[in-house]
């Protein structure tokens, strides 16, 4: 039976169910136990935003509280994965991956290839991304494209509670390193989630809404923004089809291309900085492989090429919203040669 739980609860439940099912699954990260390894509910924070709360006591010895040294514990997680465990490491903010990037892109991502398939690295790096939490330039970035660029990594970005649970279970069962990117503004958003375990396969986009006038490809928190825009546009007779890729590596290009072949118009919504981003990547793929179907130039709705501002008013301006998406859709629909 499905019932309504939050994105945060869905992630916690996925971890608990996989730890229950498979004794090789472990959790590691900062602040899992209040930073001092002490027992006691008050001290067991469950990570900076409480996502793993409750697991520390439920699975004694399998939830490791690590020092503030990402290069050390991400390296340890990668090593443990090659040694037969299935570690799920929490790298607090995606912005901090710079200090452990070698472990991720030059080690974990390469092992299967360099050892001729004889080694697998089933590590999951859970990390928060996205703007909106008033957390300033060093805690608000959308760096998914950095990981997507690297062969050997899988990159997952759930937009809702149902997908968060099913994609995290798939990430844990997957034999390759997975960057599991949780949008920090979605943690309290609830949705219908089955109590039972389930896995959503990678590389299968979700059609969030069907429509024949324009395809909107949106990622993470932008899916909800696109839905708001589509609701508003429907009242003026413009029907949007919304595609949520769910995983950006692998990317379900077939579903995106099929949709654009039906609608003839594409709007890509990605809150990341605009250069060398998922927006440009998806736009380029469609321009190359569905050029003949396009009836208007591809529109990209992204953040500007700046750090995420700390001032509330500027941060709000940075993030794409329903009005900006609706504007881009109108530009595409109204476009004439």
């Amino acid at each position: 039976m499905a019932r309504s739980i939050t994105y945060r609860e869905a992630i916690n439940e996925a971890l608990a169910q996989e730890m229950e099912r498979d004794p090789s699954v472990i959790v590691m990260g900062e602040d899992n136990a209040g930073g001092q390894g002490s027992p006691g509910d008050e001290d067991a924070w469950g990570g900076v935003l409480g996502v793993t709360k409750g697991l520390y006591h439920k699975f004694p010895g399998r939830v490791l509280d690590t020092p503030i040294s990402e290069s050390a514990f991400i390296g340890a997680a990668v090593g443990a994965a090659t040694g037969g465990l299935r570690p799920v490491a929490e790298l607090m903010f995606i912005d901090f991956m710079g200090v452990c990037f070698d472990q991720i892109f030059n080690q974990a991502a390469k092992f299967r290839y360099m050892f001729g398939g004889k080694a697998v690295t089933p590590v999951v790096v859970r990390t928060m991304w996205g703007a909106g939490l008033r957390a300033a330039a060093q805690h608000s970035q959308s760096l998914l494209s950095v990981f997507t660029h690297i062969p050997g990594l899988k990159v997952v970005a759930p937009s809702n509670a149902y997908d968060a649970k099913g994609l995290l279970i798939q990430s844990i069962r997957d034999d390759d390193p997975v960057i599991f990117a949780e949008h920090k503004m979605l943690y309290d958003v609830a949705g219908d989630v089955p109590e039972e375990s389930y896995a959503i396969p990678f590389g299968e986009a979700n059609i969030v809404r069907e429509g024949g006038d324009v395809t909107i490809v949106a990622i993470g928190r932008m899916v909800a923004m696109a839905q708001d825009a589509a609701t508003e546009l429907a009242s003026s007779g413009v029907e949007c089809e919304i595609v949520d890729p769910r995983t950006v590596s692998p990317l379900d290009t077939d579903t995106i291309l099929e949709s654009v072949e039906n609608t003839g118009r594409l709007v890509v919504v990605d809150e990341a900085n605009p250069r060398c981003s998922l927006a440009t990547d998806i736009a380029a793929t469609v321009a190359q492989d569905a050029f003949g179907s396009l009836r208007a130039p591809i529109q990209m709705v992204t953040g500007p090429h700046t750090p995420v501002p700390f001032a509330d008013s500027l941060e709000d301006l940075f993030i794409p919203d329903a009005a900006k998406i609706a504007g881009a859709v109108k530009t595409a629909v109204d476009w004439k040669k």
């Binding site: 375990s197 389930y198 896995a199 396969p201």
Partner: protein, 360 residues
Amino acid sequence: MTDERIQRMTMPKWGLSMKTGKIVEWFVAEGDTITKGDDVVDIETDKIAGTLESPVGGLIRRIIAEPGTELPVGAVLAVVAPTEVDDAEIDAVVEEAKAAVASGALEQDEGPQPQLVEVGGHTISYLTLGEGGEPVVLVHGFGGDKNSWLFVQQPLSEDRAVTVLDLPGHGASAKDVGDGSLETLAGVVTGFLDAVGIERAHLVGHSLGGAVVAAVAKAAPGKVASLTLLAPAGYGERADAEYLRGFAAATSRRELKPLLGRLFADESLVTRQLVDDLLRYKRLDGVDKALATVLGTLLTDADTQAIDTPALLEGVDVPVTVVWGESDRILPPPDGVGERVAAGHMLHMEAANDIVRHLR
């Protein structure tokens, strides 16, 4: 103050998950006199569209629900009352109805929730609506679940208890199907009747469920008052094995959607939500194994039907009704067997009102 002469036509609850419905088109107008059972309005749910047959009869004084509006289950759609009731009283009912929708109170009412019961090691999910009369039990087909009876259970439950259940491996029941044989599935249904205290019931089965209830009647004839088999498995050898095997194997929307069209005469009934719900089911741990196992009960290695339902019915001494959708592409209707309705394989969804009439 309630005036018994005033009757309210309300938004039906077609299936467990239905919370709201959208008014598509009215077939009647204010001032028309209707009888119970008349087609009055088309309503779209997030899964499928259906036609509401009026649960009441009389003079339509007011139609409240405009086409295009989305209203919660239980919202008053129209008011039926004889001419003697004055306009002011009707206006009061309309105002009360609008206030009920505006207050949001209707959305809060979740209605009856499914229950779980243990049957010989299988956890079975079921839902009973209505009370009294000789109970009716509805058994879904391969890959289906209790929600496939969305248009049938509620109207039928107006004057009797109607129970829907999820077979092992399906819906919200546990996913272990054992050997998945017809005997095992029928044994679970028989055990279920015992577990929930149903001594004797009218059994209705769709597709695989039709063969299952036939096997129940053979094994436990005393528990069965009648059988109604809707597009039942096990009549003749032919079946769309490509559909059955494809359904069991499909893991993505792009694989599943084209197959689902074959279930209906009108392929436009396959909505995004229907595909999504089935994918959500298929992704649950254990479902792939359950479907693969039960597939072996349905089909031979040569892709012909493995079940012989007429053989099961030999010596079964209860009334048996067989109904087929005339455009069934999954299990083609055999010549000379049963009645026909205008529908595909999912006749209880596509021609629900005809099926309800048959069952009454």
